[in-house]
Symmetry: C2
Subunit: 204 residues, 2 copies
């Protein structure tokens, strides 16, 4: 039995157990932030701009009942640790992959992201996909786009004894600030466009 403690959750044998006092969805990610991203993805999809979806939350089904012949009802199940990130899809032919986090402190603690999720973003980045984090600081009313290479750079420093979180100042100085708009609410593909442009300039 392995147990890892995170601020709002306990991971035991690959099953996430949330503290009773915290709303599950909100514990994982500010629900409003998640809704805004989902709405933005719907906007992109309807405009035929990109097909990016949130993956379903992985659930371990233990027991199923059949109250009616035609119906299956799950009666015992648990939340599982996600294998990868929350969002992926396609934009301008590029594979897009990201994780979204809502951060109520004044820095982004690495404990908010699983190490296998960082490994996944690294692999995507190295394979030519566009990988990043979207980080919301509700207290500051800001949203940042942090490219995977910057996340990986800071994560590597942490593993070598560096600081356990990325300070807010780092985001201000190095990440892309995403201004809230009406529709889409979080136009993060504008940042992806900048990344694509810089990639194309390198290959020219």
């Amino acid at each position: 039995m392995s147990e890892i403690k995170y601020p709002n959750k306990i991971v035991k044998d690959n099953i996430i157990q949330f503290k009773k006092t915290t709303n599950q969805k909100k514990a994982r990610l500010g629900a409003d932030f998640e809704d805004m991203i989902n709405e933005s993805n719907k906007y992109y999809l309807n405009k035929n701009v990109a097909a990016i979806y949130k993956k379903p939350t992985p659930i371990q089904v233990v027991k199923t009942e059949y109250p009616k012949r035609s119906m299956s009802k799950i009666t015992e199940a648990y939340y599982k640790t996600p294998s990868t990130t929350d969002y992926n899809g396609i934009y301008k032919g590029y594979y897009i992959d990201f994780e979204a986090k809502s951060c109520h402190s004044d820095s982004f603690p690495f404990s908010k992201i699983f190490s296998h999720q960082v490994d996944h973003l690294k692999m995507v980045h190295e394979m030519g996909g566009i990988a990043f984090l979207l980080i919301e600081f509700p207290n500051k009313n800001t949203i940042f786009y942090l490219p995977a290479n910057l996340l990986l750079q800071e994560y590597e420093k942490m593993k070598n004894g560096g600081r356990k979180s990325i300070p807010y100042k780092f985001f201000e100085e190095n990440a892309y600030l995403i201004k809230r708009t009406y529709n889409p609410q979080i136009d993060y593909l504008k940042c992806v466009d900048q990344i694509i442009n810089s990639l194309q300039n390198i290959t020219k």
Copy 2:
């Protein structure tokens, strides 16, 4: 209340209800076939060749209990209709997206795939991703790779009054036959390589 009947399942209000007599996982896809694909994806991942994952099955959680302070237990939930396809990921910088189906008849009935899944594959294909179906015919002991453009072509014919299924002969004549190998068990990326080569010849 909308209800659509499929051979092995009933879709009511976006909730899939399987018939009692069929094992759920097997009803959706031959479990062995799914396992073989998952094992192949693990092989690709471990060799740093591709990062392709099966999306978790979407589940609508209705009730959650907290038997212990640190534990959340789902006590009522239902399977939902998937929004997209089962598998996606990245290979050689390309966005990969596919659906896998096990087919016990001598043709592939279009009722086995949701129309919104066909729309999704179409969108991915048009955006420059590599979209396809993997279809197993266990009775014939064969597995085929059907590129999205061929699926879309036949689907279009069906919508215009054509046949309601793709006959086995069509697969033999038009799709790629995947020979079972030891490791990976289903080396479908070999077919993707052929697609990539033909794309690169077009752009040359």
